[in-house]
């Protein structure tokens, strides 16, 4: 398993495609907590799917004003079809070209497989990593670790 970035590290900046004609830069989200969920691939089996779970848990994340971003090496069109099919209500970013560059910057890329790790990062409002976790690739890590980390962030005025 890769060594992912640890708490206290400033989260590496990035700008990735979020739709075929739109990019999203991490710095645009400063001021609120951000959840980065790197995952191996779109279209994994339905009911145990990590992104589908986060879609359901979204109201709990929003209680902390947190923005959730899903990131994989799939391209924008693949993400678009996947998001529509699963009715996802949060952005999926395409770490597509150069492939996996953002995942690499976070230590969350699997060279041997050419995909992202199942790695989670919770950033505070200043973009500093407050919590990170790398799950075994076949295990959906759930959302409890994210919610615990959001709860531990200093309260926002």
């Amino acid at each position: 398993m890769a060594a992912i970035l640890t708490p206290g590290t400033l989260a590496p900046e990035f700008s990735l495609s979020v739709t075929p004609d739109q990019k999203l830069a991490l710095r645009e989200l400063r001021g609120n907590p951000v959840i980065l969920a790197f995952y191996p691939a779109d279209w994994s089996p339905v009911c145990g799917d990590q992104m589908a779970l986060y879609n359901e848990v979204l109201p709990e994340f929003q209680k902390f004003h947190a923005e959730l971003l899903g990131i994989s090496v799939d391209g924008v069109w693949c993400h678009e079809a996947f998001a529509q099919n699963r009715k996802l209500r949060f952005p999926l970013l395409a770490d597509f070209e150069p492939k996996g560059a953002v995942a690499r910057a976070y230590g969350a890329y699997r060279d041997q497989d050419g995909i992202c790790e199942r790695a989670l990062f919770v950033l505070d409002k200043d973009g500093v990593i407050a919590w990170s976790y790398c799950s075994p690739i076949a295990v959906n890590p759930g959302a409890d670790g994210i919610l615990d980390a959001l709860e531990r962030l200093p309260k926002q005025e």
């Binding site: 009911c47 990590q50 848990v57 295990v139 759930g142 409890d144």
Partner: protein, 174 residues
């Protein structure tokens, strides 16, 4: 290791005694095919283990994925408030291929409950908070999909065929 954060309490739907050696908690979704698959497996475990097993079912509807899951869960809670939880629970799983509001009304009537009262409760979202409380409790316990089982408070990872669950339960009960 994920552990059950919400202990089994008086609000829960429980089959079996609190003295049972093993408590199996399932977080499930009535529209999830894997949960329908697991339902007879749980029943077989209950038959095999008898008094040694206590079973608890909690709601975990993935409602963005499954359009009828929330209404199904609220229908089961409606029946629970009238002493018919397990009857409704079983009927919904048995009819999973044809879930609809009309079906829920029919099942209510079949159990001697008022379908008008059911529609009213669904419209007023009377049981929504109850279902959501199960869901959020599950999320905090590390439920990562459906079904998720907890055996004596520890999340069961991996397959959930009869032999898998039995093998996980047997040592837990000793």
């Amino acid at each position: 290791m994920s552990t059950l954060k919400i202990p089994v309490g008086p609000e829960d739907h429980v089959q079996g005694s609190a003295d049972a050696e093993c408590t199996l908690v399932e977080y499930g979704d009535y529209e999830c095919p894997h949960c329908a698959h697991a339902d007879p497996i749980v029943k077989r475990l209950q038959r095999h283990l008898g008094k040694r097993l206590r079973f608890v079912f909690r709601n975990f509807p993935l409602s963005q994925l499954h359009p009828h899951a929330e209404a199904a869960a609220e229908t089961a809670e409606f029946a629970a408030a009238r002493g018919k939880f397990w009857e409704m629970h079983d009927l919904i799983f048995e009819n999973q291929s044809s879930l609809s509001l009309a079906l829920f009304e029919k099942l209510a009537q079949q159990l001697g409950l008022s379908s008008a009262d059911l529609l009213d409760a669904l419209n007023r979202k009377e049981y929504e908070a109850r279902v959501r409380a199960d869901f959020t409790g599950g999320v905090r316990s590390g439920v990562n999909g459906t079904p998720t089982f907890f055996i004596n408070g520890q999340r069961h990872n991996g397959p959930f065929e009869y032999e898998d669950l039995l093998a996980a339960i047997e040592p837990a009960g000793r």
